[in-house]
């Protein structure tokens, strides 16, 4: 007994690592792969920093000289090519972007929320699958095609329906943008609704709540962070959309009074004017400065949306 259960008293000599534990080709290959995929992993960081650095680099001259904070953000006059008095005020452009995005959200929020509720709470089996596929296909339509639709279908439709001279305006771009943002909002909102545990619903139903009461009182409040994240991502999408807004909004520098006014968006301004400016000119640099502004705003929107959506996943 004492023999077999003895605790180890005498130290066992630790031999030097023998030849058999040498690092072989596979070991080195493994290390090499680790380095390679790490480079891939940090590429996203490099690109984000790269975008900021290179866009800032091109816009830097303007920031140093022509830039005036008050004029840039306070003036509605975007007159980069004026002979006497060039002004770079993006207020009207911000108003254009904001009005179009705002209208887009008014269109997209109820529809995408409704669709998300239907898909998550009511639809079953095949219907559900088909609807999800359709929503996904909706998201796939390229923005230039949406712009073309705004130009050729929405434009005459608006002129006819509302008896206005021009159909390329806030309404047109807003509806187009709403349809563009709705699919992504629908699928994120649907995820958020799906994440609400079934026992919540069962508990409410056990207390005699109707289906609508369950959704309104239990599911929606429980999913509200995810829904907010969906809306924010929709806003980010609307804010950054370029081609569709360029083609459907009328592209006129204007502080809009009504949804039938033509406006011009920040993104569309860059798209329309960059080709006509000389590299390094003040106008060119001012466009890059708008780019920096767009980058920062969308970064903040995405950051907030991510924090909110991540929050529900953890909690």
């Amino acid at each position: 007994m004492a023999d077999t259960t003895r605790t180890v008293a005498e130290p066992i000599p630790t031999a030097a690592p023998a030849a058999f534990d040498r690092r072989d080709a596979d070991w080195y290959l493994d290390k090499a792969v680790q380095v390679l995929v790490f480079i891939g992993g940090i590429s996203a960081i490099i690109f984000i920093i790269g975008i900021f650095v290179f866009v800032t680099r091109e816009g830097f001259g303007f920031l140093l000289e022509g830039f005036s904070f008050g004029e840039f953000f306070g003036s509605p006059r975007w007159k980069p090519t004026s002979e006497y008095n060039t002004t770079y005020g993006i207020l009207a452009l911000v108003a254009g972007t904001a009005s179009v995005t705002g209208l887009a959200m008014i269109v997209a929020i109820p529809f995408s929320l409704g669709a998300a509720i239907y898909i998550a709470e009511f639809a079953t089996g095949k219907t559900r699958e088909i609807l999800k596929v359709l929503v996904e296909l909706l998201a796939a339509i390229p923005s230039v095609v949406w712009g073309f639709i705004g130009l050729t279908i929405m434009n005459p439709l608006i002129i006819e329906l509302f008896d206005v001279p021009v159909g390329l305006n806030v309404l047109n771009a807003g509806v187009i943008l709403g349809l563009m943002a709705a699919p992504i909002m629908t699928s994120i909102a649907e995820d958020a609704l799906k994440a609400v545990p079934d026992r919540y619903r069962e508990a409410a139903e056990a207390m005699g709540a109707t289906r609508w009461q369950v959704i309104y009182r239990v599911v929606l409040p429980a999913a509200k962070n995810g829904l907010l994240g969906a809306v924010l991502l929709g806003v980010g999408r609307g804010f950054g959309e370029t081609m569709a807004v360029l083609m459907a909004s009328g592209h006129a520098v204007n502080l809009p009074d009504s949804i039938f006014d033509s406006v011009r968006a920040l993104t569309a301004t860059i798209a329309a004017e960059l080709g006509e400016t000389a590299v390094g000119s003040e106008h060119y640099q001012a466009l890059f400065t708008i780019g920096i502004f767009l980058f920062i705003i969308t970064f903040l929107i995405n950051l907030t949306a991510d924090l909110i959506v991540r929050g529900i996943r953890k909690g």
């Binding site: 007994m1 077999t4 259960t5 605790t7 180890v8 066992i12 000599p13 630790t14 031999a15 030097a16 690592p17 023998a18 058999f20 534990d21 040498r22 690092r23 072989d24 596979d26 070991w27 493994d30």
Partner: protein, 271 residues
């Protein structure tokens, strides 16, 4: 490995405890914790070449963690912390520069069978291929030998090209054993292998393990105390993260224990 000394021990066949081979694995003051929560504390033991070393104990006693430390699977789990020394063939495995080479010498079978989603043949041929065996004839040889040893050959010999992950649970477990044997390991560790296997197959695998003892050292973690009795030369009793007792299997099972908890567990009074 298989020198003369070992061979003579085996001729005496039973019980191997009488004459022990050289120390294959020595563990000093081994402690394992997960994110600060201890799973195993202060284990000291030695396992000799060509013995079957049984480890028994109820759930959560640290048996599986012990095995994971032995082949350094802690490397893949940042929360798992291992302290103490583990000497394999006299070298501290924490100083091994190439842990993959270490694992190639240690075969492991865990309780839940894992048939990889490739053909039965590829499952068994995977490890030899990884270490550079590529000749078809050699691989055919290894596959057949390992599947026979794992008592699976007769059932799958006509469908070696079907998916390993779609075999039945019991077959997958034997496939896992065949895979563990495919590199001719010096040390074979089995963790409750019979959970997913029917009793008849269990007995067949047990017979195989008895034969394998001539070629390798075996650590058998089991929740079936009688299995340890049938197979193990010596047995350790683990309880809630510590090693209560190590003893000659026959002695432990005949009541010759130092700690009453061991006797209680073996008699089935808890666990």
């Amino acid at each position: 490995m298989n020198d003369q000394g070992v061979a003579t021990i085996l001729e005496t066949s039973q019980p191997a405890t009488a004459a022990k081979g050289p120390v294959k694995l020595a563990v000093h003051n081994l402690s394992i914790s997960y994110g600060g929560t201890p799973a195993l504390v202060g284990v000291d033991l030695e396992i000799h070449e060509n013995e079957i070393f049984g480890i028994i104990g109820p759930a959560n006693s640290g048996k599986t963690s012990f095995l994971k430390a032995l082949n350094r699977m802690d490397m893949f789990n940042p929360a798992m912390q291992v302290a103490g020394d583990i000497l394999f063939n006299g070298t501290n495995i924490r100083q091994w520069r190439n842990v993959y080479a270490l694992r190639r010498r240690i075969g492991v079978v865990f309780p839940l069978p894992v048939g990889l989603p490739m053909t039965v043949y590829d499952n068994v041929a995977l490890a030899p291929r990884l270490s550079g065996v590529n000749r078809k004839a050699d691989l055919d040889d290894i596959v057949e030998r390992c599947l026979r040893r794992a008592a699976l050959w007769d059932e799958v010999k006509d469908r070696l090209d079907s998916l390993g992950s779609l075999l039945s649970g019991g077959q997958q477990q034997r496939l896992t054993i065949a895979r563990a044997l495919s590199q001719d390991p010096e040390l074979l560790m089995l963790d409750e292998f019979s959970i997913a296997v029917d009793p008849v197959t269990t007995m067949r695998i047990e017979d195989v393990l008895k034969e394998l003892r001539t070629e390798m050292t075996i650590i058998l973690v089991t929740n079936l105390t009688q299995q340890a009795r049938r197979l193990a030369d010596r047995t350790a009793f683990f309880l809630t993260g510590s090693c209560v007792e190590i003893g000659d299997t026959e002695a432990l099972f005949t009541g010759n224990v130092q700690d009453t908890r061991t006797a209680d567990y073996i008699a089935g009074r808890f666990g």
